[in-house]
Symmetry: C2
Subunit: 141 residues, 2 copies
Amino acid sequence: MVNMEDCINSLAMDHPLDTTPKYSVTQAAKLVEISEHTLRYYDDKGLFPFLQKNDAGKRLFSEADLQWAKLLECLSNSGLSIKEMQQYVELCIIGDSTVPQRYAILARQEKIVKEQIREKKRQLKLLQFKLDYYKDWQTRI
Amino acid sequence: MVNMEDCINSLAMDHPLDTTPKYSVTQAAKLVEISEHTLRYYDDKGLFPFLQKNDAGKRLFSEADLQWAKLLECLSNSGLSIKEMQQYVELCIIGDSTVPQRYAILARQEKIVKEQIREKKRQLKLLQFKLDYYKDWQTRI
DNA sequence: TATAAAGCTTCGAGTTGCTCGAAGTCAACA
DNA sequence: TGTTGACTTCGAGCAACTCGAAGCTTTATA
């Protein structure tokens, strides 16, 4: 799997077999910058429906799984609960007929992230206001 | 630190800050858009060192307390733990000598919030990429 | 070939920061 | 006087991790 588009093709729209190199949970954690514990936790919750395991039960992450992990992180950070992510996974598994529903979910999260950015900028302003005040205070003494 | 006004002034930053008790927890919650539960929780954790109570034990929030609540929210959202906010409060109570330490804390949080904004923008891009892909997919069928 | 180390596994318990609800207090008003 | 409503405290519950123990394979070393 080379790019994001392919990834979305395989994981979000369909679920074909991914034949790319596989990573252990430790390697995957480093690559996507999500802790091993969280990756396993997500897997236990069924959020990696296409994740493979070898004969010894060892998890094997494909490139597609890594991209998927990034999407999960994104959805989680924008406020989706585990349960809601599970529902998103369900929709993905059902297939193309659920594209409108999935689109609606992503569109809602897009709005939320936009509002989060506005909120973060307000927070930044507050901090900078205080920092300016302190700076001012320090030059006065 | 001699009085509440000095403290809040040097910390919550609005000048001049009104420290007259005015609002019930319900009113305060509406004004700052933080739940009553959270305001009480923060108070229980000692994060409102100058919050007054009337004879019946009812909390009375001043304008200064509202500003302070906003700062607490900001610090919390930028990743400060309750314990760290407690330490910040300690520094505030000690007084002017701790201004450099408090400045350092706020400066660190400013950096963090800036990085959070960058991260949010990356998330937004990922969502928009997926939305575009879905849009494309829908026009193709 | 024994054994030790590394790297994974599962599972259950602990942590943080809320979030909720029950039970009680108190002031105001019909 | 009784009821309503807004508050109080306190303890339990919850989501999403986060950690650590115990065990299983595979690989490296003696």
